[in-house]
Every structure is written in C-alpha cells, then in structure tokens.
C-alpha cells in the first residue's frame, strides 16, 4: 500500500467513524448515568429523517441539524419516561424505539414527500459541505505532513470537527466537573447521589437528553453531511456498532475515539478491498461485509470480558417497591 492509499483509507475511516463516534459518546453519557441504550440506532435514524426533511424545507443545514437533534430528543424523552420515570426495562424500551423510528420515518416520509420514505435530495446550503482548513492547498505539496493536513485533516464537514471536539469535551465534563462527578456516581450507585440530596431522576434525564443531542448530530451528519438526503433505514446498523464500540471502549471517552476509529477503519478497508485476495483463497465479499460484526464478536469475546459496565447500569432506581 502506498502513502496516498493509506491517506485515502484513513480519510474514509474518519468520515465513517464520525456517526459511530457521536453515537458512541451519546451512549457513553447515557450508560455512564446508568441508563442502557440500545435505541441509538433508532434515534440516529429518526434524527436523519427530521434533519433531512427540515433541511430540505428550509434550505438550511443548520436548521436541519436542530431538527435532527429535536427528532432524537423526542425519542430520548420516550426512553427517559419509560426507563427513568416509569422504571421499565431499558433494553425493551430501546428495542421499541428502534422499531418506532424505523416505522415512523417511512410513514411520515411517505405522507410528506410521497417518495416511499425517501426525502428529496438536498443541495447547496441544505447540506453541510466540506470545509477546507486554512493553508490546506498551500501545504499539500509538503511531503509527508502536507497530504496528511490537506487531505486527511482538512476537507471534512463541520460536524466532523465537532465530533472530534466532543471527545476531549466529554472527558473534561466527566472527570473535571461537578456534573460529571454526579453523572458517574448516579451510574454506579444512585442511592449515593440521592442521599447526597441530588435528584437521581434529574441527573439521569440530563444524561439521556445529552445522548439525544449527540444522536441527533450523528443522524444529521448521516443525512446532511456525508450524504444528501434521507433514505429509509439509512442508519444501517451503525447504532449497534456504536454500542459495540462503547463496550470495547469500556465506557471511556478517549477509548471511544480509538474504538470507533477501529470500526471506521475496518469498514474503509472492506470498502477498499471487497474481495480480499489472500493468495490461495479469496475472501468473499459477504465475509468482508460481515467482518465488522464478526470482529465485534471476537473483540467482545477476547478483550472486553473484563470490561465492567457502570454498576447500576440497566437497573431502574427503585426506592420504594
């Protein structure tokens, strides 16, 4: 593999990892607060739909982003109600949310646009276009560092940079602020937070809502950043991969960056080498396509057996039975 190819694959990995990263961080907030969320997929999908619809109607990607966030937030509220307020089963709520998004997006899309669940293609300012960072073109000629800066670092949509900025931000929030301390505590032992006079419900709801915002960004990126409009089921399992990445990352922000990068890289590699020729055998493309899932299982089996989830995760906080 030559240098430009590596740059291209890395560049592709970066684009592909962004929805994973945003969704993974979304899950991180929620699960660190003790609310498991397998509904990332559904929230992303819903956000992609609302973002594309509003971006199309207004011609503004930013309005689309807001709408995407609103769409995901709406489902977050449902998740919060069922798993925090009514102390239901968080996994089941997540499953329901995934179905809800999958059905509603097509139903509403068909009603509004009559395109079988698709939205019309977005053009111009209705999409987040690629940004060229300063001096990108000037520096491209510099050997080594030049292409890295000009082709890998520069030339992504603004949401990509936002997503990467979210990693240190999340770390800082989690480990350096009062909010983060309470958030982590509520996922480990909600009673400790409660007896300290802090509302468990409010903490968990904040976390679930932040999760919604990040999922909203992920969905908006799918529909208005990396592609130009909504197509039904366009989240295509990315929410589940993000979930796997979260476990792989052991619920830590910097590791989340690494895990989602790995998955992005895998997908980019599978794209680049669809039928991997290993000399004697050619790996069929079906296998290459299933590779992220297989690897997830292998990773889950091999390395994260000891990953300890937040201790109160998945459990509703019940004071009085």
């Amino acid at each position: 593999m030559d240098f430009p190819t590596i740059i291209q694959i890395l560049d592709s990995s970066v684009r592909l990892m962004v929805p994973l990263l945003l969704a993974c961080l979304a899950g991180l907030y929620s699960e660190r607060a003790g609310v498991f969320d397998i509904g990332l997929e559904g929230k992303m999908l819903m956000a992609a739909f609302t973002a594309a619809s509003v971006a199309y109607a207004t011609g503004s990607a930013w309005a689309g982003l807001l709408a995407g966030i609103a769409g995901a937030l709406a489902l977050s509220v449902v998740h919060g109600l069922s798993s925090i307020t009514f102390r239901g089963n968080q996994l089941i709520s997540g499953v329901a949310i995934n179905f809800l998004a999958s059905g509603l997006t097509v139903l509403l899309g068909q009603k509004i646009f009559g395109l079988g669940g698709r939205t019309p293609s977005l053009e111009g300012a209705a999409r987040f276009n690629e940004i060229t960072l300063p001096f990108a073109d000037a520096l491209r000629g510099v050997p080594g560092i030049g292409p890295i800066y000009a082709d890998l670092i520069s030339g992504h949509s603004v949401l990509v940079y936002v997503a990467f900025a979210c990693v240190p931000l999340t770390w800082w929030v989690l480990y350096r602020t009062r909010f983060g301390l309470r958030l982590r505590a509520v996922g480990e032992n909600p009673a400790s937070v409660d007896t300290a006079g802090v509302s468990v419900t409010r903490m968990r709801f904040s976390a679930v809502l932040i999760c919604g915002v990040l999922c909203g960004m992920a969905g908006a990126y799918l529909a208005t950043g990396i592609s130009a409009g909504f197509v039904k089921e366009m989240s295509a399992g990315r929410g589940y991969i993000a979930l796997a990445a979260l476990i792989f990352a052991k619920w830590r922000p910097w590791s989340a960056l690494g895990a989602t990068f790995l998955f992005g890289l895998l997908e980019a590699l599978a794209n680049r080498f669809p039928n991997l020729d290993l000399g004697i055998v050619t790996v069929p493309s079906m296998f290459m396509n299933a590779l992220p899932y297989i690897l997830t299982v292998i990773i889950l089996a091999g390395f994260v057996g000891r990953a300890i989830p937040p201790r109160a995760g998945g459990e509703p906080y019940v004071k009085e039975r």
Partner: protein, 306 residues
C-alpha cells in the same frame, strides 16, 4: 381492470418498481382507465395477493421481480382465464407472459460509454445487494468497457449482503470515494437507494456517474453520463394496453426492441462527444446485428472478463 403488483422493494424504489408504476400511470393518463396496485409486505403474501387479484377479476395482472416466479408457476394454472405478466423472470405457463430484459446489453453500452468518457482508464461499478442479478449488470458493463479499453480497469464493489444494502447511501458514497482513490472517474451504480448516494457523491467529487433502471440523468444534470434504462414502464404500458389479449410466452426486451437502452436527453447532451456517440452507435449495431455477443452472467454464473 388490469392490476400491478410491486415487489418488496416498493413502489418508490427509484428502480424498476417505480418504472413499472410510471408505465401504469401513463396508461391511466392516456386511456382514462383505472387499475389496481398492490405492494408486497411479506413473502407469504405473494400468493395471497395474486389470488386475491385474480379472484376480483383483474386482467391482466402484471408483477415486477423474479421473486414472483415460483408463486406464479403455482397460481397461474388455477386461473386459466386470467392473463399474467411477470417482469424479470421466465414462467412457462399458457396464460403467462414472461418479460425479460437483456440488462447485459444495456450495461455493455454503459461500459462502452464509460470507457470513452474515462480519462484515467479506470472506472467503477457499485452494486447493491450481492446477488446474481446484479452481477449480470456488472458483467455486461465490464464486457463493454474492456471491449473498448482492453487495458483499462473496472473496480467492483457491492454494498452488502442483506436487503439493507439497497438503502445505504452513506456506504455507497464511501465506496465511490474509495474507488475514486483508486483512480476511477466514471462509476456505474446498480444499487437502488444506495445508488442515489453514489450519484450524489460522484457529483460532489465532480466525476461522472451512470444511473440504472429509470432515467436518472436529471438527478445531477451534466454529471450523470447516462442511465441504463430498462423499458419496464413500456412493458407495463403495453401489457395494460393489450388487456385480456395479452400474448403469452417469453418476451425478450433487448436492445434491438428498445427494451434496454442508454438514456440520452438534455441533461447529458453536453457530455456526449461525437466519439462517445459513435462508439455507442457502433456497439448498438454490433449487438443488434449479432456481431457482438454479450455474455449473460446468469446462464453460467461466470463472467468472461474480470
């Protein structure tokens, strides 16, 4: 009344279901008649839908997609007075018209055009779900391309192995970018909703793309080289028009009969250099005249060119 049954992909798949819908609508507009339409929601429903329509007296009943083949084989004998037409599949029953398209021929032309339009000598093919039918497109395209530019290269990618592969524009775009990275400057997308993402990404990257099934030239005027159009709309229109007199047997919609073609319209006119037009004409004549034999992948699951 005639009836039309869409396959699982749905009426608005931007592909042949939608084309079939277009044909029916044209018939409706022209004749003022009415027709019944159904969309499948499950495998078990296919038979149900066919029988229900036959029992309500619909005639002829047109269905899109090879997946109906088995069921139609079973159902058609029970309704000898009803005429059926099936697109993309051969069903040998006395009251069934089988309409098949020589996609390999249309794709061959697309390959010729891609070869002529490509400056780098490398072009891409992006398929949706990895099934034999799509390999037929791929193989025809590769043959046309190689015949025109034997030293050139065709990059081939499939989006996935599940039906989700038809609906992943993000991955479609990414696949295209990977192909561009390897030098591709023309891409042929046979991938349903994913293809929309491919065409978009091609337009964004300022390279040429080739649409499929319906005429997709208008999606990005000046950026879509052509579309490999299947005359599904015509077939449906013809079948509806024939009504109860629909001719049973196999109807091969090939290049010669205009069943498959490469779309030329105002949107891609500026791209049509005399060189391209001449090459397309020559290839068309070669195929219709029989001098050029385009291999059909489905006959033996192999492709003569790689």
């Amino acid at each position: 009344d005639p009836a039309l049954i869409f396959d699982l992909g749905g009426k608005f798949d931007k592909s042949f279901n939608e084309a079939a819908f277009g044909g029916a609508e044209r018939w409706k507009a022209e004749t003022g008649g009415t027709y019944k339409e159904l969309e499948m929601q499950s495998e078990a429903q296919r038979e149900q839908a066919l029988r229900r329509l036959a029992e309500t007296g619909a005639n002829p009943i047109v269905m899109t997609g090879f997946a109906f083949g088995e069921v139609l084989n079973k159902v058609a004998p029970d309704y000898p007075d009803t005429k059926f037409a099936i697109i993309d599949m051969v069903v040998e029953q006395p009251n069934v018209q089988s309409i098949v398209f020589t996609e390999e021929q249309g794709s061959y032309l697309a390959g010729v055009m891609a070869a002529k339009a490509s400056k780098s000598g490398t072009v891409g093919f992006i398929g949706g779900m990895d099934i034999p039918l799509i390999h037929k497109f791929e193989c025809g395209f590769a043959q046309g391309f190689k015949a025109t530019n034997p030293d050139g290269k065709v990059l081939i990618n499939y989006t996935g192995t599940t039906p989700a592969a038809w609906n992943d524009p993000v991955k479609g775009g990414e696949l295209l970018k990977a192909q561009i990275g390897q030098g591709a400057d023309v891409v042929y997308a046979a991938a349903g909703g994913t293809g929309i993402g491919v065409l978009q990404a091609a337009a964004d990257a300022n390279i040429l793309s080739i649409g499929v099934d319906s005429n997709q030239n208008h999606l990005h005027p000046g950026k879509v080289l052509t579309s490999m159009v299947k005359g599904v709309d015509n077939s449906v229109y013809e079948a509806f028009k024939a009504g109860a007199d629909l001719q049973p047997g196999i109807k091969v919609m090939d290049l010669a009969s205009g069943g498959v073609s490469v779309a030329m319209d105002d949107s891609n006119k500026p791209l049509m250099t005399p060189d391209i037009t001449a090459a397309v004409d020559a290839a068309t004549q070669g195929i219709t005249g029989g001098e050029i034999k385009v291999h059909d992948y489905m006959t033996d699951n192999t492709c003569p060119v790689q």
